[in-house]
């Protein structure tokens, strides 16, 4: 407690202008930055998988399985930073027991469960069921046991059965696309519906969240696909990589356009809150917004991939460029979340001053914990790729 007070006294000494006395502490810190970031990665990775399956973009096939498992790994972790951020985490189940129907936040648990249980798990299960049956006969030890249990006793291996899996899997994917839109558009609404906060309160917020989610998920799968290929020492499918990059390019353009529209709209309307937001963007968010999000996270990636659409350098150069572009986009979207969550709390609702955000390294809300929540899904993914490698699949959807 003393340490917390010390932290607040320090923030108090750095207050600029006037803020309401209860506003010194930022109530949402790094964990809430992670929450939309991770859910966005899930939605984006899933949408990339759907592009292949529903929209029949065959060039993306090598990434289908990786994209689904990536989405699942991150979805497992998505709620953990949220729950750990609660002051009473043991009461978190109340959100399922007595959800307040007027609350934008209350439905998250249900949207999450729907996405996890109905969409992702089912789709992956239908995609892998036949493989589980086959693998359960050829493996030993833990793997054998896992495959046996996970077939849920449905051991048919004939063609008709595989066809049915494919059909149902396709149906789930079709259902999954609006679900992915719902998942992340909804996360945007949690912020966009707060009329008290002019930085958040925009009708574009859910749409911006959705497109930035797609951008980050696609970039993540692109990077993971490259890393997995390098680790497996197999040749990267350049057609696949170029295609992913192309989609990244298109969606990044839409995302950037929407965000620019939001800012231009603010600038042009110049409402009551404009003066403070202008100072916020030019000051406290200068580095994270102008440099990290816009320059490194958007302009440079757009320029590089855009250039490749006109002129294609050697494969080696493209590969390296794509890798760094992917990383830059991931960093850029992280800072987009940062700018929304932290940025929205830096200025006072009195519109007359600023508080500061000094994140700590240790503790549940610190940088170290943030690193844990970002590394954990990658460990889960590594485990899943070992347990159910998409490249060893026997069955394959049409």
């Amino acid at each position: 407690m003393e340490e917390h007070y010390q932290h607040l006294y320090e923030a108090l000494s750095q207050v600029d202008g006037y803020i309401y006395p209860n506003e010194i502490d930022l109530h949402w810190g790094l964990m809430i930055v992670l929450y939309p970031y991770i859910t966005g990665l899930v939605a984006g990775a899933f949408i990339l998988a759907s592009l292949e399956r529903v929209f029949n973009i065959k060039a993306l096939k090598p990434t289908y399985g990786i994209a689904l498992l990536t989405a699942l790994s991150f979805l497992f972790v998505a709620t953990l930073p949220l729950v750990s951020h609660l002051q009473h985490p043991l009461r978190s189940y109340e959100i399922f027991m007595t959800p307040n129907p007027t609350s934008a936040m209350a439905i998250f648990g249900f949207v999450y469960l729907w996405y996890l249980m109905v969409v992702l798990l089912l789709e992956i299960w239908f995609d892998y069921r036949l493989d589980f049956v086959i693998w359960s006969k050829t493996s030993t030890g833990f793997k054998k046991l896992f495959y046996k249990v996970i077939t849920l006793g449905i051991n048919d291996t004939d063609e008709k059965s595989a066809k049915l899996d494919d059909k149902l899997g396709y149906f789930i994917t079709v259902l999954g696309i609006p679900s992915a839109f719902l998942l992340h558009g909804y996360v945007g609404f949690i912020f966009g519906s707060i009329k008290a906060n002019p930085w958040w309160s925009t009708v574009l917020m859910p749409v911006i969240f959705l497109f930035s989610a797609m951008v980050s998920g696609i970039a993540l799968v692109m990077v993971i696909y490259m890393v997995v290929s390098w680790a497996r020492k197999v040749k990267i499918d350049m057609l696949c990589l170029d295609t992913i990059a192309k989609y990244l390019f298109y969606i990044l353009i839409i995302d950037f356009t929407l965000e620019s529209l939001d800012q231009i709209h603010r600038l042009y309307e110049a409402e009551e809150s404009f003066d403070i937001i202008k100072v916020l963007v030019g000051g406290k968010l200068n580095i994270t917004l102008i440099y990290m999000q816009v320059l490194f996270g958007t302009i440079i990636p757009l320029s590089v991939i855009g250039f490749f659409q006109i002129y294609k350098p050697t494969e080696k150069i493209r590969k390296i460029s794509y890798f760094f572009v992917g990383i830059l986009v991931l960093i850029g979207i992280f800072f987009m979340r940062w700018n929304v969550v932290i940025g929205g709390q830096l200025f006072s609702k009195s519109l007359s001053g600023f508080t500061t955000f000094n994140a700590v390294y240790s503790g549940l809300e610190g940088y170290l914990m943030m690193a844990v929540w970002l590394i954990l899904p990658l460990l889960i993914l590594t485990f899943l790729l070992w347990l159910m490698p998409p490249w060893k699949k026997v069955s394959s959807h049409e």
Binding site: N22, W28, P99, T102, I194, A196
Partner: protein
């Protein structure tokens, strides 16, 4: 193996899954209504037989002594540190050059002192702030579990045993009237001293105010002090454009006040 058998197996699997999921969902939907189903009709804020509490604040009378903020902290065991306030007093100073200086060191506790030299001051006034007990409260709308609610007599309260501490209500409040209590670890705010007003007493801030700058009362009591205050003075609420239907009314509210 025939297609029919496979379909049957899948169908059974889906039926079981759907039943489990449906059961959980149904339970979560029904549970909040248990209390309603088992008791008689609960009173609501529209019940004309109950009082509808509100407050009038006379900016012209406030001298910025900060006694209200101090009494509130003592009465409601609000942590002493200068980051937690159920009520506070702001000092506005409009300088001759048009610049507006707003201050509220320690919420005004100990008395507000003017830091601008007299010759530079165009005008200066004090504004006591507290929860506005909105009829259309954004915090109540936002609370994911329904831990914050409006009592039938119109007071926005927090169920301390139920709040999960997500801070969404704090984000939703346009007035900065809520804080996370570091001791109880739940959202905290002005209750109009609910433990006092339900016994016929006045809120602590009202009782200690030496200049009667705060008028507490029942908006339905046509002969009461609050209704009289509203009749005699042109009043305004804070941030009216947000349409929260605040029940704290200010007399002498200047446009500089945010």
């Amino acid at each position: 193996m025939g297609t029919e058998r496979i379909v049957n197996k899948r169908r059974k699997f889906f039926q079981t899954s759907a039943a489990l999921l449906g059961g959980t969902l149904l339970y979560s939907i029904i549970k909040p209504f248990e209390a309603i189903a088992q008791t008689e009709e609960e009173p609501t804020i529209d019940d004309k037989n109950l009082p509808l509490w509100g407050m009038g604040v006379d900016i012209e009378s406030c001298i910025g002594c900060g006694k209200c903020a101090e009494a509130c902290k003592i009465e409601n065991k609000v942590p002493e540190e200068p980051f937690y306030f159920r009520t506070w007093v702001e000092q506005y100073t409009v300088k001759n050059d048009g610049e507006v200086k707003i201050e509220s060191p320690n919420g005004g506790i100990g008395g507000l002192k003017q830091s601008v030299p007299d010759e530079d001051i165009f005008k200066s006034f004090m504004v006591p702030k507290l929860c506005n007990h909105c009829t259309k409260a954004p915090c109540v709308q936002a609370c994911p579990v329904g831990a914050t609610f409006i009592s039938p007599d119109g007071v926005v309260l927090v169920d301390e045993t139920y709040c999960i501490g997500c801070s969404y209500c704090i984000q939703a409040c346009p007035y900065g009237a809520r804080f996370m209590n570091p001791v109880t670890k739940v959202a905290d705010k002005c209750t109009f001293c609910y433990h006092r007003i339900t016994k016929g007493l006045e809120p602590a801030c009202v009782e200690v105010c030496p200049t009667n700058a705060r008028v507490f009362g029942d908006l339905r009591d046509k002969k009461g002090d609050l209704v009289k205050f509203l009749q005699d003075n042109p009043t305004q609420v804070l941030k009216p454009h947000l349409n929260t239907h605040s029940r704290v009314f200010y007399n002498g509210l200047s446009s500089e006040v945010k």
